[in-house]
Symmetry: C2
């Protein structure tokens, strides 16, 4: 067997062997979509891709979804084993597994399924499959990079367009709905988030857009993205309505400088945490260290948030083709927040910015 | 503390004690929405509601989501503890947990989080929290029943309207899009699924609507639903385009008889599996036993599929207020499928059908 999905399964088996895993188990999730091109919704009925070094991969599925599984891209290349309502699916899985040793479970598998598997194979020791699967997924191929770049451009265009709309006198929800519409109009299949956090609400990085009416001299953080051809966009810009609020320019400048420093730290051979340190050091020097209370970024691809995490403690070495966000921020309680976020790819010798929106402060009406 | 959410948390603690659990752990999921009215998306950063018998509940959240958690309905009634990127969230959770004993994990918690917790509290034994939480969630209160009835009526109206549209010569996808639009026009926030399985595609219960053009004499299975005020609709009807295909009338009649038998078996004091047996026995008597290869139903509420499972092996005793689907089906490979599905509530002395669409065979153009 050959092709994109069989290759990914084979590489997973190889990496599993190298990691000392007897098996890797993947339930419906972006991991399964990546490995098998099969993407059913996660449900209570167990669907499980079993990858073992030195053996053919097996897909265990509920009988009523067997036709779907057989029609999936990998359906012809692996054994599809059905279990029927009334059977114990975990015992069915156990028959495909070693009775002991280390078994890796995909990160997004539901606890109910993991607990069922642990009970069915009590002598095995379960661990995260992330060191195997996330490593593969982290390095994007040319098609994946093109898809992420397309999504980023559509998000950039949405930002350009939202800046020419009215902010003052409208609610956060109004602007958020406009952003969602723009994302779709610019090619996204759907908008997944469109944070609009005005004035003091900007203190909350994951603010839920609400009924607050945007006023003159508000800073407005907009963090938005969605799915475009299976891959995600995610970008943030902070704008001001007319004159900036007191103290804003130096904070904006600090975030932009941190963004610059982080971008400059992205290159093959650097560690993920080096990028975080570059941003954090810049912000600390300006006296806002305590106000930057999240990681500098996260991987992006088939999920909005996926490994690699760009934070302290992650010594993963960056490789060309890895894609992640760079999004330092400063949050002043009761006043405003500032965040600037671009998606970047590690290139052969540095960084390729997939978002290209201006980072010059935009003044909106 | 009093009110809907504090009451639910208190009852969870009581049930946990009765079940011999030292703690119940709930990550972002419908369980968390049910218990705390807090519904952030599940992400890699650990958010965890910790409920312990005899202690106040604690919500562990990423610092950057602390403002959101505090603003949630239960935010003022429980302790909200933040952990910051760079901390080990599982160690932070371990400080809130007993060092040993049985700990229940919510069914939808991600494996990555469960494995992290198991590592951080190695002496504890983790098990599913479902016997505690699912039992509470299974019995709906009056508000929840009203929401489910409203969603069911909107789905019924969508079915009535789709029957007067054209089927012949259009693709499954076309009809599926129409169904999605109708669900939304009739009040759903969104459509979550709109299976249209025509002719031989009806063999696949979870068929993905595709480019097949619907023809005269096709049977067409339509299984659709979505979210309406936080609760779900889910209904299925099978129609024919003009004359039914050969052998169809007796199969349709068998499914309808099984549906009748299952409805008649729903009453307080019966077991969940009694409802399945009633449907299955009817279909077996007509010689189609092997062609009915899934459970008769599933619970429904904040999730489309949730406990109780209406299948063999589930001796859960039905109580007034439990809501679930009744959906027997017969699937003939290469020919057609038939399924009829209604959502029902267990009433004080029998069954309350929330879907009321006619079950008489509808002939469409």
């Amino acid at each position: 067997m050959s092709g994109r999905y069989p290759d990914r399964v084979r590489r997973t088996a190889d990496e599993a062997a190298a990691a000392g895993l007897e098996a890797v188990l993947v339930a419906p999730s972006p991991d399964l979509a990546y490995l098998a091109g099969y993407d059913p919704p996660p449900l209570e009925r167990l669907t499980l891709l079993v990858i073992r070094p030195g053996a053919d991969a097996v897909l265990l599925v509920p009988t009523l979804e067997r036709p779907l599984a057989l029609a999936s891209p990998l359906g012809a290349d692996l054994e599809v084993v059905g279990w029927t309502d009334g059977d114990d699916p975990y015992q069915a899985a156990a028959r495909l597994l070693p009775g002991a040793g280390r078994i890796g479970a995909g990160d997004r598998m539901w606890a109910s399924h993991l607990l069922g598997l642990q009970r069915a194979v009590p002598e095995a020791s379960f661990t995260t499959a992330s060191p195997v699967i996330s490593r593969l997924r982290a390095v994007k191929d040319a098609n994946e990079l093109a898809a992420l770049a397309r999504a980023a451009r559509a998000a950039d265009e949405s930002f350009r367009q939202i800046c020419s709309t009215r902010f003052e006198g409208r609610t956060e929800q109004d602007v958020s709905h406009d952003l969602e519409d723009l994302l779709v109009r610019n090619g996204h299949r759907r908008s997944d988030f469109a944070i609009v956090a005005s004035g003091p609400n900007g203190f909350s990085p994951h603010h839920e857009p609400g009924g607050r009416t945007i006023r003159a001299r508000d800073a407005v953080v907009m963090d938005f993205g969605g799915e475009f051809g299976g891959y995600f966009s995610d970008t943030t810009r902070t704008v001001v309505v007319g004159e900036p609020p007191p103290g804003f320019p130096e904070v904006y400048d600090a975030v932009r400088a941190a963004h610059d420093a982080a971008l400059a730290a992205v290159r093959p051979g650097a560690a993920a945490q080096d990028v975080d340190r570059a941003a954090r050091h810049t912000i600390e020097l300006r006296g806002y260290g305590e106000r930057f209370f999240h990681n500098t970024g996260h991987g992006i691809g088939l999920e909005v948030h996926e490994p690699p995490w760009i934070g302290e403690g992650n010594d993963l070495v960056l490789e060309p083709g890895m894609t992640f966000s760079v999004e330092p921020g400063i949050y002043l309680e009761g006043r405003f927040g500032v965040r600037i976020e671009d998606i970047v790819a590690v290139s052969a010798d540095g960084v390729d910015r997939l978002n290209r929106s201006t980072r010059d402060l935009q003044v909106v009406d």
